[in-house]
Symmetry: C2
Subunit: 363 residues, 2 copies
């Protein structure tokens, strides 16, 4: 069993990483006074993993309830949140009720936000079943739902009690989703750890073949880096923003194409190339490093070029969407750039240069 | 200028108490980087105070926006929250935007919850214009909206940057609302400070006549007691629950009658009498103290008897509604009781005894 500690004082918690984890052996600190567990999942993940999880929880909790939502980013919504609240109130769930998020980033973010706001906060546990969720979204306490005018616009910083990364769940993960999750893994190298980038370059085939030892290292090292960043800046007043490398462009791609057309990790991949190219044009890195990143992204089967999201003024549309990004300030876009391999910096850039980068990086 | 400090580490803030406060002299620590202020108010309060507030804020902020909602508890809702989010996104408000809650408890709770969740948290300032909000709801960081199945069911603990209690706003407050606010003032005596209860007994006429010095003392002492409690238990894991004296019964009254029929403070008043009577029957206080509380409540023009909310099984309906209160655990109702004058205790009580109390205290 691999273990990563998230050190946040009275909000500290552990990430467990292994195959076939027996969840209930690790719930002592979580469930002391609760008799009710509510598992929130989607129909796809539920069909694969719900029976096992409910069976385990039934050994500990008097009452195990299930909320099964449709699958997809579309359901990370106000309406889904209301379905959760209505169910919890209908079942007379009190403040000691524990929510279990069984699924990928959508289920994790939505369940976390429900936990953050139901009766002003109840405990929750992350049971991430996708690579993306195991290496990124289930860790660090960012919870949210989407708004028609922007992704993750409504949310809260709210930490789980425990994160259980069961590598066995990745065996049923569709190939496209595994690759999309790898985008967030690739991300950690350029911003924080070039040695990890080298390891990935050497072991990518084992990861793509879902070899357990390789997956375990990918999840553990990703969580360690994220834990290190979040431990210093829980609420993204500074350093934490570096985790958004590739995300400013990536969110524009997702929003511009319509949520769900490109997967999050696919948008981030093309976005990382754009951010790297912008870094190069600002003199922060050389073209060799940009090419190295592109090669890794392409080997992972991920897009290195962004889509054209507006046939009239493509770069203008990207800029427009990036200006309403949460990280923008007074309409100024704040880019996470690479300031030499393994080091990130957050800064602005002239619109004209950003336009050139977008023109060069879309097809 | 009176001043109360809320000591919550990196979430510490000040409460300012005075007449005709020039808001902008106290915004240095709040507005350092923001250029946009959004005032959220209702049509009633807006008509009285909006021009002055917007005029002041326009001296500091490049851009002052206003969201005016209809007046009433009915609008502490999901729909109002959506109106706020839609407006903020439409105006491209970023994380540096500051919200100003100009109004009573409904506006303060709603604005606070919007601030807690817009882009995972933006700063907000409380400008309470009712006695209830000045002595209770604007202080301590409880934010929420109502759900059809329960009051304040969806919310967050989220502290404001500053609370400005301008006593001048109380001059236009309707008499019924002033009295309802006094219920929360009366509350502090039995649970924490018998000397303050004595002061109230001696100075109630000056308070009801809205004499400035009396109002200033009422607001200051109430905020001091609340600050002392919240400073020890921000998220209500223990001590803070004593502030709900009268509220368990009171919420049942509000819900049972339909929100808005009884004002919150009116429900709390009758609820305090029920809680005191329950304390007496459990042997915690004598009948003299119960009568003293009833006398003070009646002198303040507040109801000492609860309404009949179900002609069939009135006590049963009260119990049913109290079991879905947020403070209930596994269906067990946790009552805030008086354990000798000036001291509160949280405990359960047998249903049969609670039924007797309700039967004795309703008409």
């Amino acid at each position: 069993m691999d273990l990563v500690n998230i050190d946040l004082g009275d909000r500290a918690y552990r990430i467990l990483i292994d195959e076939n984890i027996n969840l209930i052996q690790h719930l002592e600190n979580v469930s002391s006074k609760s008799r009710v567990a509510v598992v929130i999942t989607n129909t796809t993940v539920g069909g694969l993993h719900l029976n096992r999880v409910v069976g385990l929880l039934a050994c500990v909790f008097e009452n195990v309830r299930v909320i099964e939502l449709p699958d997809g980013e579309l359901y990370k919504s106000w309406d889904s949140l209301n379905i959760i609240f209505d169910s919890l109130l209908h079942w007379q769930c009190d403040r000691k009720t524990i929510l279990f998020a069984l699924g990928g980033g959508v289920i994790g973010d939505l369940t976390g936000f429900a936990a953050a706001t139901y009766m002003r906060g109840i405990p929750f546990v992350q049971l991430p079943t996708t690579l993306l969720a195991q290496v990124d979204s289930s860790v660090g306490g960012k919870t949210a739902i989407n708004h028609p005018l922007g992704k993750n616009m409504i949310g809260a910083f709210y930490q789980p009690q425990l994160v259980v990364c069961d590598l066995s769940t990745l065996s049923t993960l569709p190939d496209r989703e595994l690759r999309a999750g790898l985008a967030e893994v690739i991300k950690y190298g350029p911003i924080a750890d070039v040695a990890f980038m080298e390891w990935l370059e050497q072991n990518l085939n084992a990861v793509l073949a879902k070899e357990t030892a390789a997956l375990a290292h990918v999840v553990q090292r990703s969580c360690e880096i994220k834990a290190w960043v979040v431990g210093q800046d829980e609420k993204e007043s500074g350093l934490r923003a570096i985790l958004n490398f590739g995300h400013t462009f990536g969110h524009a791609i997702e929003a511009g194409m319509g949520y769900g057309v490109w997967l999050h990790g696919e948008g981030v991949s093309a976005g990382m190339v754009m951010a790297a190219e912008l870094s190069r044009r600002l003199g922060l890195i050389d073209s060799e490093f940009v090419q190295r990143l592109i090669t890794l992204i392409q080997r992972a089967g991920l897009p290195a070029k962004g889509p054209v999201i507006d046939v009239g003024d493509n770069a203008g549309r990207y800029l427009e969407l990036m200006r309403i990004d949460k990280k923008a300030e007074a309409g100024e876009i704040r880019f996470v750039l690479i300031d030499g391999p393994g080091k990130a910096v957050v800064r602005t850039a002239p619109d004209s240069l950003v336009r050139e980068v977008i023109d060069a990086c879309c097809e």
